[in-house]
Symmetry: C2
Subunit: 352 residues, 2 copies
């Protein structure tokens, strides 16, 4: 079975960004700003990429959308997390009440925050910022069978595409919440990048070394249970969470619409990994916000050839790292739009 080829799912077409004339104009513009050549370092390559994604020499980020995808994991019953599964729905309430880290940071930066119940084991009262796109109340235990059926995987992907399509703006910051989802991300990374699971497995929400060893034993068992899962969507269905599959759909749709995708940590990157294997040009639209403190993320970034903006030892998820990096994207755009050129400011050039 290869889910990717099933005919009941149509993935959006994602064309390469290949306007070399625009790239040259952007580079020329950056080089003529009143600063030594290249002296803004990584901010200049960021500005260039934002100009390319948005197709403009004066890129402007509009109505940025922070979307937190939440779901429960059957594998959590095997004790792979330091926290009980109930924390997933409790944190959804915390996001909506404005007390979670990412709620605080979204307020700081004026980002719209939407929470999506992709498959939480809880019934939520309706709320303005909450979208219920529940595929099922939690995935199945991946150590006993696939985490989701092909139909559930497709449903989650379609949910992600549809909900993203309905959101305004040209920038997308996906975050996530799901007790057990570092396990799922570790499994995806190990299988899709052909890495040893021990190199991909970390402390998650805060396991000690004995608990990490037990988690690793469970994850090895899960991998052995699914030797046939090799294609990206098969791997996603075997090991993933509904929040991750929904995020994959949303990332594909965002890339197709040429939105800027700000990639948070280990879980968000694993969704981007899957999406990029379905449509490699997704990566042209991705800004990697930070290198997480979670073991495995550095390997994942290296596999994706991604150069993250921040390296602050974050390992919270929720999209928190993406929001912390957000002002750097705004700065990069402002440099392109507002900084004077040597000519316009009457500043002398470098000595010949």
């Amino acid at each position: 079975m290869n889910l990717t080829n099933l005919t009941n799912l149509t993935l959006p077409a994602i064309a390469p960004l290949s306007d070399t004339a625009l790239t040259q104009r952007l580079q020329h513009k950056l080089d003529n700003k009143t600063k030594p050549l290249g002296s803004l370092g990584r901010l200049e390559s960021l500005a260039l990429q934002l100009g390319e994604i948005l197709g403009s020499e004066t890129p402007e980020l509009r109505a940025p959308q922070l979307v937190v995808f939440a779901g429960d994991h059957g594998l959590a019953a095997r004790g792979v997390s330091a926290f009980p599964s109930d924390v997933t729905w409790q944190m959804v309430e915390n996001f909506l009440a404005g007390g979670a880290c990412v709620s605080v940071l979204a307020r700081q930066h004026g980002l719209a925050l939407t929470v999506v119940d992709c498959g939480v084991r809880h019934d939520f009262a309706p709320r303005e910022q909450l979208l219920v796109r529940k595929v099922a109340p939690g995935t199945a235990d991946a150590s006993a069978g696939p985490a989701m059926t092909p139909e559930q995987c497709h449903q989650a992907l379609r949910n992600g595409m549809a909900l993203l399509k309905a959101l305004p703006g040209n920038a997308f910051l996906p975050g996530e919440m799901g007790i057990g989802n570092t396990s799922a991300a570790s499994l995806l990374l190990a299988r899709l990048a052909r890495l040893d699971i021990s190199d991909c497995t970390g402390a998650g929400t805060g396991l000690d070394s004995a608990a990490i060893a037990r988690k690793l034993t469970v994850l090895r068992e899960v991998l052995l249970k699914h030797p046939e899962a090799k294609a990206p969507l098969d791997v996603l269905a075997a090991f993933g969470g509904f929040e991750m599959a929904t995020m994959v759909g949303a990332v594909l749709q965002a890339a197709a619409e040429r939105r800027v995708i700000v990639v948070d940590g280990f879980i968000a990157s694993s969704a981007v990994l899957v999406a990029s294997m379905l449509a490699p040009h997704v990566l042209q639209r991705c800004i990697f916000a930070h290198r997480s403190g979670e073991r495995g993320h550095a390997l994942m970034l290296a596999h994706l050839k991604a150069e993250p903006l921040l390296d602050l030892g974050l390992r919270l998820g929720e999209g928190s790292g993406a929001v912390l990096a957000w002002p750097l994207l705004q700065s990069a755009c402002a440099v392109l739009r507002e900084m004077a050129s040597f000519e316009s400011a009457g500043v002398s050039q470098k000595d010949a």
Copy 2:
């Protein structure tokens, strides 16, 4: 001669921050926020330090002051920079007109911007955002004698203290502009940290390798010219710029007032190095914004045992790196002030 001991200069007293009860309360508060323990990484140590500096469990940054200190360097006549000295005054005009990088970034973040003529070789028309505290029109050529006289050094220090004292707010972001000032900073670092000048010397505004070699030859010559300069203010007078000496005074005053000092790159760090040798507790008030791409800055940070927030290959100066890091400080304060605790949000704790 030891300028530090001259009696016509009174430096402000800078007491240690040593309220261990406050530190414990801050740590307890961070540990009870709805997130895995320590999962905000560097942002948590930043929040702790901001709470300590501002003496509060709910620190709030008020009326942040970005001050760009500008001055010309006699040593520039020896060809140590890729740009002509006129660029110093031209960039001051650019700061005031709003077209320089740091002007753009200050607008983005709502920071008050003041430019100080500490010793530019140019007469400026009066402007609202411009303070004229000119010690002299540029320093003397340090390869021929000391860059400044003891009286000039003291005058610059006093100017810095006085101007900072008159500014509102509790956060200070010093920036600088001065063609030739990476040379001065390299000389300060080599002498004060007892490092080889070749390890402290880099491309500045963009020298090629042959020009760096010529710059290094000049800097070796300058060091040999001043074997007696060993105490911090003697070294500052022998090699420094008026913008750097004024910044040292401002940093000392800011530290005495328990303002948060956001340290930019190589030049700003060299002023902090001097200030910290006069009053070591200055460093408790310093947040190091970034590791610059300028050779020598990594060594300087290691010498100061500083862990910077960003590492983006910036090498522009002006305070640009400090402003890029600024939203992280606001985020750290917001986490302390606004995030819910496990108890207040009704979120389950980690499994026992």
